[in-house]
Subunit: 355 residues, 2 copies
């Protein structure tokens, strides 16, 4: 039998906590029988829930923790109250010590990122971590990063994001040389996007083996799937992600209203039921649940806090895929390629190369 | 008879140029009979087109210009080649001289903004102009600004945007005290959004009569219509706008695919046809075509370059509404209220007021 894939789970995270996390983990292990879990949380709550899932029970080890990071804790509060001892911390720490191959939590993003940075530290030359999201497109799926780890990024950091995003795309989508675009605004010559332009020069000059730099893309290119990886800083990335989610919900509501307005529409809806089901499935945010923290010494997957068991299972399976496809090694390789090829490549060099 | 509303039209702008602009203007004057136009462009092309629309012909004056600003001209090129003499410049200048009450162009955004700034200059204390878009929401419509006039904005500039956006909301939506939100990311305590936090303090401290400051909003609040006016800097605003457009197109494509996949789905589609038509109408980007340049000594409406006659007519009608509802006076009033009430309000004062 193949080596099992061991993930650490923060059972106390998410709006519904263990009531959502445990059934989610159970779903994942049914679909990926080689999964094993280290589950951290309040055993008095969790143990009875696990009893209902014999397969999960056989595949997990339960570790008691007293402290819970709340969904509205600020990162600094969470660190103060939860470091060394909360379920969130312990789950991250299991990745650091090598007991787990990746960590999954539906806890609050700010706290999870702060603890992950503190515990796992930055990977090699990477200055800043990023959160990468998988984004459904008309062509399939793309990766967008950073969707909210930090605000602002200089050219060097954007290049790091590009390299890490490409590594993730090669791991998840099995691409040799993923197409990478830098998110920009269409208007030429407006001020303030110097860092994006500089990153473009650096990527073009570096001409990396694992990354096909495809130029600037705009907001509407994301859903079109123009590139495999869309790179931006965390403020714009987070706003793009949330805006797309909001627009999808808005259109779903328009559609519901339209389809219940007349008898004919209702009848049409019933006949086209399976088509609507397929549409709903395509638009199901649970299917692409899970932001991946990149740029740390270990993989941490952030599940949506408000998701259900099915959504949490998706996040767990995303973690599983990352491990199986050797994401960490691919990122390390990409970063090292960049720093070898581009070497001490700085912008002056890149600009000289442009001429 | 009421005083006519006179708009200046750049007939040479847009991907299709006069072939789209002239029928668009004709549509608008049919729906708003008190419209009058000053139409700038190549008369040898335009005059024959106008002949086909007697009502438009009776309502317009045609002014010949030789120079055309191309859709891919950079702003600096456009200024160099087109200042004083292009159809775009002349249409803007008509607002400056008071011959027209507002200007409408489907020409390229960067050039139109550069010329508008150069010709009309900034309004009073407003440091930077913004482009405001009307955004359809599940509750109706909201205004989002800046969607791409400039990149980056400090706290003071964000407050200007808030005041101008509120004035526009009161003009367009007929609201006494529009709710205004600052676009932000959900994660607490992350760095780099100081200007957004500072703007929040300043808006709260100023407590303006024409603006109900409602706090931070996130990307998904835009489509939800949580506030009447969403304020952000131009990079994030442009990306939000384009991302929403891309998502809407993406879902429309999913829907088309789903509805043509099986016989039953096709039959259902036919029965629910009117519901789909209503949905299409709701999602029709032409209905909300037109970005309004705020913060200049005059109103300039930017129509989407790729729109059709119907879309251009919407942009013209938006300009009409702005004039009829006295947008310029409302903005001037809002800005003056702010500088009187908040007076020389700076952040130190705002912060003292917070304690």
């Amino acid at each position: 039998m193949a080596k099992p894939i061991i993930l650490s789970i923060d059972a106390m995270g998410g709006d519904a906590g263990p009531d959502m996390v445990i059934p989610g983990a159970a779903l994942a292990v049914e679909r990926r029988p080689d999964l094993r879990f280290l589950i951290y949380g309040d055993t008095s709550v969790i143990a009875p829930l696990i009893k209902a899932h014999p397969r999960l029970e056989a595949a997990c080890e339960l570790i008691h923790t007293d402290v819970v990071v709340r969904m509205d804790d600020k990162p600094s509060q969470a660190l103060r109250a939860g470091r060394w001892k909360s379920s969130m911390w312990k789950a991250i720490e299991a990745v650091k010590t090598g007991q787990a191959m990746a960590c999954v939590s539906a806890g609050n993003t700010g706290a999870l990122m702060a603890m992950s940075r503190f515990c796992l530290r930055g990977l090699g030359d990477v200055q800043r971590p990023a959160i990468a999201a998988i984004w459904p497109t008309t062509r399939g799926e793309s990766i967008v990063l950073d969707v909210g780890a930090t605000v602002g990024a200089d050219a060097r950091q954007l290049v790091d994001f590009a390299v890490m995003g490409a590594a993730m795309a090669s791991a998840v989508f099995d691409l040799e040389r993923p197409k990478v675009g830098l998110l920009n605004v269409g208007v030429e010559e407006i001020k303030g996007v110097e860092q994006v332009k500089d990153a473009a020069k650096m990527l073009r000059a570096a001409n990396l083996p694992g990354l096909d730099y495809a130029g600037f893309v705009e907001g509407d290119d994301i859903g079109r799937g123009t590139v495999d990886v869309v790179v931006t800083e965390g403020f714009a990335g987070n706003i793009a992600l949330k805006t797309a989610e909001g627009t999808a919900k808005q259109i779903a509501q328009y559609l519901r209203q339209a389809m219940t307005r007349s008898l004919l529409a209702k009848l049409g809806y019933i006949l086209a039921r399976s088509a609507f089901d397929r549409l709903r499935e395509k638009m199901d945010p649970r299917k692409v649940n899970g932001g991946v923290f990149l740029g740390l010494n270990g993989i941490v997957i952030k599940s949506h806090g408000g998701t259900d068991a099915e959504g949490f299972a998706s996040a767990v399976e995303l973690g599983y895929d990352m491990v199986v496809n050797d994401l960490m090694a691919k990122i390390a390789q990409g970063i090292s390629n960049y720093h070898r090829a581009g070497g001490s490549l700085d912008l002056a060099v890149a600009e000289a190369g442009e001429d």
